[in-house]
């Protein structure tokens, strides 16, 4: 049990329910870490939620901001947080004191499914702390998988670490720097945990003292004939030219900007500490926003199945239906990840039960035949268990979204209309919807930014490249982020991007922002 956990104790009746529900979940095939439930008052719940699910974080106003939003929301009866669970081993789920028994049961069932997801979905392997930076191959699962995921402790340690820094440097200074780091927190490389340990580039061996020129072997008296001055000059130039080339680093465009800065930016020790913490936490949360739809869908699928199948008794059905409906409600236009996720899982399950997959299915043109297609294979359950392990939101949608699903669930894509100055429904066409959805989900909706050159113009300037995939950067924000980058890099920062179809270079040198048009 984490020393930083709250250690509230559940009342006996809830403990009994927990045991029952755990048994049902286990019986249904869910595979989860040992799970601890804590019961909280509404303000403790708001506090924990503001801290992202952890009892202890580093000091920063953003948590205060989140808390304000949640507390006001609760105070004015707008919404309350029913469930809160964190990716930890053992997992912790939080129940809100004062909720009805039906609600608590719903939450518990939901939580167990979440924990199963955390344990089995491959994206979350990167949050295992005992892999030394190399993540275990998700397909070949070792038996008895019990990773170290003591993130409650780690977050608390981060908090302690930063508090020490604050004690020495002062809260304003540290907070300002933290704001800079947080500006950059979406500049991570989602694939890097699966690529192995980064090879650190040693900077030390780049100091040429004198240019050591390789000479051809010659006896003393032959020296000036075999190694004439011009030849030596030439060699010297050649070597220096090569060195110039080498000076362009990183060799390959680097997507983990934070790691790059940690290694190469002239940061003071405490700044390094802070940035390191921010980067680690960014990587911890990354799998969660990569799999939001799947995760919520999975949990909803299971709480629904378990509640209606096993847990509820007849008297509770109406209450349950009411609340469950609330969770799945769609408010005008917004995509509800719970609903989308669960419907898609159910869709997959049904397809695999009926054998609606494979070459024949894909090639069938007859709509009638497709509708009545039912091979009674019963592979649905197995398939969804497989899916929950091997996919993330992008691949999930990419593979399993079908035109039938889009039309059945009334999905649409929307876009900004300049004429009417508002967002409008653009299309209900499968391609369009899928494209928009995938775009929203790719990289968490963040642009692809790479460190292109850390010795730009041979003046030690930092050059970043925005891999433009059809959408322009928000320039005002970009300029602000460049300020943060300069704060760290201490030399001018430039960003290559495309705006309004034309390639441009944004540059910030500490005093002013400049925009230069590039030749395409």
């Amino acid at each position: 049990m984490s020393e930083f956990a709250l250690k509230t104790s559940l009342p006996a009746y809830l403990r009994d329910e927990q045991n029952k529900i755990e048994a049902f979940a286990d019986g249904a095939g869910l595979d989860f870490f040992p799970t601890v439930f804590e019961i909280l008052t509404y303000d403790q719940m708001n506090e924990i939620a503001a801290y992202g699910g952890f009892p202890n974080r580093y000091p920063h106003w953003r948590f205060g901001m989140e808390y304000e939003r949640l507390a006001k929301s609760y105070e004015y009866g707008l919404s309350k947080i029913y469930e809160m669970v964190i990716n930890n081993n053992p997992a912790y789920g939080y129940l809100l004191e004062g909720n009805s028994l039906v609600d608590q049961k719903l939450v518990m069932a939901h939580v167990y499914a979440h924990v199963d997801f955390f344990k089995n979905n491959y994206c979350f392997r990167s949050t295992d702390l005992d892999t030394g930076g190399r993540t275990v191959d998700p397909v070949r699962r070792p038996s008895g998988y019990d990773p170290n995921r003591r993130w409650i402790d780690k977050m608390a340690n981060h908090g302690a670490r930063l508090r020490r820094v604050v004690a020495r440097q002062g809260i304003n200074k540290v907070e300002e720097f933290l704001d800079c780091c947080l500006s950059l927190e979406n500049l991570v490389d989602l694939h890097s945990p699966f690529r192995g340990i980064r090879r650190k580039r040693l900077v030390e061996d780049e100091e040429p003292q004198g240019t050591e020129i390789p000479r051809l072997r010659a006896k003393d008296y032959m020296e000036s004939f075999i190694n004439p001055a011009e030849y030596l000059e030439q060699q010297k130039k050649k070597i220096e030219a090569e060195r110039e080339k080498e000076r362009k680093f990183p060799e390959h465009a680097e997507r983990d900007v934070l790691a790059f800065l940690l290694e190469h930016a002239p940061l003071e020790r405490w700044e390094n500490d802070v940035l390191d913490v921010v980067r680690e936490e960014a990587y911890y949360f990354a799998p969660q926003w990569q799999t939001k739809i799947m995760n919520e869908g999975w949990a909803t699928y299971w709480h629904s199945k378990l509640m209606t199948g096993k847990i509820l008794d007849a008297s509770e059905i109406i209450d349950y239906a009411d609340h469950a409906a609330g969770v799945l409600a769609t408010s005008a236009g917004k995509l509800n990840p719970y609903k989308l996720g669960v419907e898609l899982f159910r869709h997959v399950e049904e397809r695999w039960n009926r054998g609606q997959f494979g070459k024949e299915w894909e090639e069938c043109d007859d709509l009638e035949a497709k509708k009545n297609w039912n091979l009674r294979l019963g592979l649905g359950k197995k398939k969804i268990f497989e899916v929950r392990a091997l996919y993330n939101d992008v691949t999930f949608i990419d593979e399993f979204l079908t035109p039938e699903f889009v039309s059945d669930h009334k999905l649409f894509s929307f876009a900004w209309s300049n004429r009417n100055e508002r967002f409008e429904i653009e299309s209900r066409e499968f391609r369009s919807v899928k494209e928009k959805l995938l775009f929203q989900l790719t990289n968490g909706g963040n642009p692809f930014i790479y460190v292109e050159d850390a010795n730009f113009e041979n003046r030690g300037e930092l050059l970043l490249r925005h891999d433009h995939q059809g959408f322009d950067l928000r320039q005002d924000y970009a300029r602000e982020v460049m300020r943060s980058l300069l704060r760290m890099w201490k030399r001018p920062v430039s960003v290559m991007t495309i705006a309004d179809g034309k390639p441009i270079m944004l540059r910030y040198d500490g005093k002013e922002h400049a925009t230069r048009h590039l030749r395409p």
Binding site: E175, G333, K334, F414
Partner: protein, 371 residues
């Protein structure tokens, strides 16, 4: 319950109020939650600070949604991402007439207090009244006959008789014996303390125009709000004067038209009278506030004012405050005279209020020292 997050929370609030981290001001936006209070829509402003990231312009992207609607129909709002599995999102209701609820008046006053760094008012020793009252609420077995409690006595007698078996329901005769007797007795209760009265005095002579009165009204509102927070039982009295003074109610105080000449002494005399009649200084904290444009009728009158202040008013009040609003007609002489005579006296606070912006500074001068 005090939470760990209170520190972060109060830091956030301070940033929003602009007290610290001014460089974050440009990122502050006012979001809002829309809720319901009965059938009214309630708009709850939620300040938000957006840390900039490399991101796409919202309008650029659009997105995918779910639900009914024809092509070209408007779609509400944009997405917001959330981190760890937290709960449901607040639904967004259609925009209608919403009541803005932000802070209560009490919170406002406390914010004012923080802004101006007003210290909480401490009770001055002599004004702390322990008004001890004796209340006859208890019982004892001995006492003077005049304090007999008949009901209790007979009750005891009845109890005794029933216990002994001598009580006959058919013939209910109850005779108390000396040990049955009960007497009323008293408890000393202290009545609560700090009582305060504010006496607002305003010059309504020809030279005070609407604008000047507006300034006075605003200032006295805030002073009122602040002092309400400090004292539970706050009373306010209003005196208007031109060449003569009279006491009025709040409405009249703020709405009187301009009229005659200006004799400030009349107001002071009336104030003094008020104190004599109704507010013994041993029991009351008294705060007279006088607002004028400084144009008194004559030097003689001013000297009379000084006398009244010195002799009658100052000895009995916590402090005396004079606020001079600027007026095109007034000479503004009075404040100079006051400062001349009472410059050294800490209890007299004078302040010039040039325009609306200066109100805050003026309040701070008046209340900053704590009275």
């Amino acid at each position: 319950m005090s939470l760990k997050i209170d520190q972060d929370h109060s830091r956030f609030r301070s940033i929003v109020r602009g007290k610290i981290r001014q460089n974050l001001r440009k990122y502050i936006s006012q979001g809002e939650l829309v809720g319901r209070k009965g059938k009214d829509l309630v708009s709850i402003p939620i300040p938000q600070i957006d840390i900039p990231h490399f991101s796409f312009g919202e309008r650029q992207r659009g997105g995918a949604g779910q639900g009914e609607g024809e092509l070209g129909d408007p779609v509400g709002g944009d997405q917001d991402g959330e981190e760890a599995g937290s709960g449901r999102q607040a639904g967004s209701a259609p925009g209608e007439h919403a009541l803005e609820v932000d802070v209560t008046l009490d919170e406002l006053a406390s914010i004012l207090g923080e802004e101006l760094e007003l210290p909480d008012i401490q009770d001055k020793g002599k004004n702390k009244i322990i008004n001890a009252k004796d209340r006859y609420t208890s019982i004892r077995r001995v006492g003077p006959e005049s304090l007999r409690n008949f009901k209790r006595t007979y009750r005891e007698a009845l109890k005794r008789q029933i216990a002994m078996g001598t009580y006959a329901p058919g013939n209910p005769v109850v005779v108390p014996i000396p040990s049955d007797k009960r007497y009323r007795s008293w408890k000393t209760e202290a009545e609560p303390v700090a009582n305060a009265v504010i006496v607002y005095m305003m010059d309504v002579s020809g030279s005070m125009g609407d604008e000047q009165k507006e300034i006075v009204r605003i200032e006295s509102f805030w002073i009122d709000a602040w002092l309400q927070r400090q004292y539970k039982g706050l009373e306010s009295r209003y005196i208007i004067h031109d060449a003569v003074a009279r006491e009025v109610d709040r409405e009249t105080f703020f709405h009187t038209r301009e009229s005659g000449g200006t004799m400030i002494s009349s107001a002071f005399k009336l104030c003094s009278q008020l104190i004599d009649d109704h507010y013994p200084p041993e029991e009351w904290n008294i705060y007279p506030f006088h607002f004028s444009d400084g144009d008194n009728w004559s030097m003689d009158d001013t000297l009379l004012c000084v006398e009244v202040l010195k002799g009658k008013i100052l000895p009995r009040v916590n402090m005396f405050a004079y606020g001079q609003v600027e007026s095109p007609y007034g000479s503004g002489q009075f404040i100079k005279d006051l400062r001349e005579h009472f410059g050294k006296d800490e209890r007299v606070i004078t302040s010039e209020i040039r325009d609306k912006e200066a109100i805050i500074g003026s309040i701070k001068e008046f209340l900053g020292k704590g009275a």
